[in-house]
Amino acid sequence: MRWHDVDVIVVGAGHAGCEAALVCARTGLSVWMYTLNADSIGLMPCNPSIGGLGKGHLVKEIDALGGEMGRAADAACIQYKLLGTSKGPAVQGSRMQCDRLAYSLAMKSAVERESNLLIRQEMVTGLLLDGSRCVGIRERSGYDVRSRALILATGTFLDGVVHVGSVSYGAGRAGEFPARELALQLRDLGFPWGRFKTGTPARLKGSTVDFSVMKEDPGDEVMRPFSLRTARIAGPRRSCFRTNTSRQTHEIVSRNLLRSPLYSGTITGTPARYCPSLEDKIARFPQRETHPVVVEPEGLHTSEVYLKGLGNSLPPEIQFDLIRSVPGLEEAEIVRPAYAIEYDFIRPTCLKVSLETKAYEGLYFAGQINGTSGYEEAAAQGLLAGINAVMSIRGRDPFVLDRSEAYMGVMVDDLVTRGVEEPYRMFTSRAEYRLLLREDNAAERLLAKGRDLGLIPDVLAQETQARLQEVESALQTLDRTRIRHGEEVNELLASRGASEIREAMPAAKFLKRPEISAKDLVNLGILPKDLSPNAVREIEIRVKYDGYIERQKRESERFRKTEEVLIPKDLDYDSVQGLSRELRERLRSISPRSLGQASRVPGITPAAISALMVRLRSK
């Protein structure tokens, strides 16, 4: 083995960087994690919350594979809410409001607990390359550090430019240096790159906000931890407050649209359509008279509040006016103005499913550099890139999750197969087997893999296994036990406005009635009282949606069959008949590892797939 200083270098200490560094250190590798500021590790530069629809799923999956995000969020949780309860069983996602500082400290101390992980505050200005291998980095000081694997998790720092009104300046985040040299080197190396735009709303001084005219949202009574390792969440709680933009707000924004760099032509980076700035909302939906605004607490020990829904890049004096036009914010003072930021991302189709670049061995990209947005998306990629760096150093096959196993698998497959045209966010609709990929069964899906990777301690695996067993035996109980048509049951039904039952029936069938919940069966003494809320939820979903789940299982098995048809790396696409030149070119550049992945390459028709299938079969 060639000489090196450390096993793994991670550039960036945000959500992707921390997970990547931790997973490498925890498997015994030596790690240096670079940051420009050792005080902003695991920072939440946008809204102070973790999770949400699709995103809560990711946090649970990260946790089941031994990642840190869920545990840090639990430690910093000041409010919990289960979203999407009326939308269906699988889309329900947990969201936590977090104390921003507490989250950052929880992450920093997790990182510091690892004896072979070093936090290094320095700017990385270049990659060291040896042929088609990446062998380390150069610090700004000119000091070279050599490594066996390098993970870039640079967030919005690559040639980052902050915009407020007509003023723009280079910055990785407001008040931090951008990473310009590294960005230029990546462009020079021929990595396909683009510019994306994102932004964050203003933070206000809490004591200048009139909460009394807003609608308080204290969150759910029951707080469910993200992590299997968190027993319960006990800390103090904080509420969010809802208000709305006024007609005046819309007038102010419309009048000053051209003073926004978004509309004056200064910003050319692509924003996410699903997360429009206030300027975009008002310009694109002029018929809407009002947009919701949520005032979210930034933490327990600060009065600062975050203004969800008011992200913009207008000049400070206009921000001042528009914020004060919102009911409850008439006297508000701005601590940190809103801003937009443009940055380089590298088109993720240049990556393998392991998140290693196709061009340079040992070089991995994770997080916003791959064109994603969101803390959870970043953390999931950091974890996977870290795991795969470990696998590669240990000489093992890459760790790949498929689309029927995890949202993480869906995301990585989307990124490396389809690429991104706007910042990529996890949506539940991106998953074909949504009913199988639920928050409540994340551990069931992934914990064994986490244990096999050495990331989940045996004790935890056994404990969780026992809890999963509880669910299985509860399901058996429901099949075996019959509900008698007694007074107690019929009174319950009557109180729900439902028709009585006239004869005994299996408890499972009874639970399938829309007006009955699994809790009722706990109350009737059929299910044990000590089941965890997560177990109750899983039981209910598995009984009520039994038919649908079974069907998706069958479909996912069929899906896995085409995933298992591997395409040889050296396949000559010119030898596939019935493919146009354009499709050949596209397949060559993506070089899908399986027939299934090939079928998801944009523009590839089923006809092209059958042509490919014929070619593979003729081997």
């Binding site: 949400g52 629809l53 699709g54 979203l83 999407g84 009326s86 939308k87 269906g88 069983p89 699988a90 889309v91 809802r242 699903y274 919701p292 949520v294 949506f427 539940t428 609709s429 949504r434 009913l435 829309p514 949606y545 649908y548 010119d574 030898s575 596939v576 008949q577 019935g578 146009s580 028709t605 089923p606 006809a607 092209a608 059958s610 042509a611 299938m613 070619r615 003729s618």
Partner: protein
């Protein structure tokens, strides 16, 4: 072994003595193969895209001239198959054509399999699956109306109706998914999803209904002749077909299995079927024949119920009337040459609305009237349906379309029960409905299905 994209060759015209015969080549080497064996008469002529070139076919081995004719090169991807295509028109001699084919095969062309040209057209995206099926139907069309119907599908009129339906489902799905994935404070739940599903379902059911008229235009009206033994069913069948295909004897029960023949009346095909007689106490073999007769009646478009007009109705005749009670039928009173004991207006002959024809199958008297009655029925059933497309789903399309309606009906059932359809399940059912729709056009397809479809083709298409 190098399974490179190969070049296929086949005779595109029937292998028979004819004015000209056309050899067709498709694939990357089509043009170079042509150049190797075909010498333009005008010196220096090149094979420009879509230009006819006169020349001679020469065996490069010995310089012998095999034939002379016209070659046209059609460069991909704008050709029928999407690849380079060559059509070589030579003298229509099977001997010459075989020699030239052998020459091309010896130089690396591969004899095409059934429908392989059209299969390549589908694989390269030049045709969708509906159009590919239409090509086969166009070639096999029996009547001008069948040509029209196939033409309509080839011109994408059916594909676009299906696309319209699947686009409307996709729009509903997009609304549902947006609602699922965004915070509730940003978007309202999609309120009319269920109503919109109902509208899409109606359009799909209309397409299924229209498929029947399409089948009639394509395959002909299914007309089944039934009657008690020895009323002259087979004589009538032969008279209509104008052959002696059905064996006619004076003994009752001669036809034990059914016989089919195609006749064209007024430009519309009729698939005529002669059946075993229906009788009261049949022997076992006959009983099986009768069972089959009843099955035939069930799947026919019209029944020709034959009675002996020279004798009074009996119990067996009333069995015949029962058998066709729920079907459109023509009542035929046969044996007018012997006499008329039966009143044509009699209520005993079933509903008065049915056409009644007295005739003699033996003499041919009154047969023209029956032909006219049948033709009129055909004209009405083959009429263009209200949905506005002259092209209609094939049998494969109907099965898939029916499969697509099932999940939508489930949505409407839950909604009809007064319960809200959870958006997630709504989405699941919509996706399930979209899959078979995509199979109809071939956006989603499996190999086995393709094999079955292209099996129908002749070689050279």
């Amino acid at each position: 072994m190098k399974p490179a994209p190969d070049t296929i060759v086949a005779l595109a015209t029937p292998r028979d003595y004819s004015g000209i015969g056309v050899i067709r080549l498709s694939g990357p080497d089509a043009v170079s193969l042509l150049k190797a064996i075909f010498h333009p008469v005008r010196a220096g002529a090149d094979f420009a895209d879509r230009t006819a070139v006169y020349g001679r076919v020469v065996d490069p081995e010995n310089g012998k001239i095999l034939d002379d004719g016209i070659a046209v090169v059609m460069c991909g991807p704008r050709s029928y198959t999407g690849e380079d295509v060559v059509e070589l028109s030579l003298h229509g001699s099977p001997t010459i054509l075989d020699m030239v084919l052998r020459l091309l095969v010896s130089r690396g062309a591969r004899p095409a399999t059934r429908g392989e040209f059209t299969r390549r057209a589908f694989l390269s995206g030049r045709l969708d699956l509906i159009q590919a099926e239409a090509v086969a139907d166009l070639i096999e069309a029996l009547t001008p109306v069948a040509v029209d119907e196939a033409r309509g599908r080839l011109d994408r009129s059916l594909s676009s109706s299906i696309l319209e339906v699947s686009n409307s489902l996709k729009t509903i799905l997009a609304g549902v998914e947006a609602y699922i994935d965004f915070d509730e404070d940003e978007l309202e739940p999609p309120p009319e999803s269920v109503t919109l599903v109902g509208t899409a379902l109606e359009a799909m059911e209309a397409l299924i209904r229209a498929a029947d008229t399409g089948r009639i235009r394509r395959e002909g009206v299914k007309a089944t002749i039934i009657g008690k033994p020895n009323v002259g069913k087979s004589t009538l069948f032969n008279a209509l077909v104008q052959t002696d295909r059905a064996i006619v004897t004076p003994y009752p029960g001669t036809t034990r299995d059914s016989l089919d023949a195609l006749v064209v009346l007024d430009g519309l095909a009729f698939a005529l079927c002669d059946t075993a007689g229906i009788r009261e106490h049949p022997e076992p073999v006959e009983a099986e024949g009768i069972r089959r007769t009843l099955l035939k009646v069930a799947e026919s478009d019209i029944v020709i119920a034959v009675f002996d007009g020279s004798a009074p109705l009996d119990l067996e005749d009333s069995r015949v009337l029962e058998a066709c009670a729920s079907k459109p039928a023509v009542v035929v009173l046969n044996k007018s040459d012997i006499g008329t004991r039966l009143d044509r207006q009699s209520d005993a002959l079933g509903p008065q609305g049915r056409p009644r024809v007295s005739l003699s199958a033996k003499d041919g008297e009154g047969l023209d009237l029956l032909r006219e009655v049948l033709a009129e029925f055909g004209r009405q059933s083959g009429e263009i349906p209200a949905y506005g497309t002259s092209a209609a789903l094939t049998r494969r399309g109907v099965l898939l379309m029916e499969a697509a309606t099932v999940p939508l009906q489930r949505i409407l059932e839950v909604a009809a029960g007064g319960r809200t359809v959870e958006p997630e399940l709504l989405s699941l059912e919509l996706r399930r409905a979209l899959e078979p729709l995509e199979e109809i056009t071939g956006e989603r397809v499996d190999e086995g299905v393709l094999d079955r479809i292209f099996e129908r083709f002749c070689v050279g298409k």
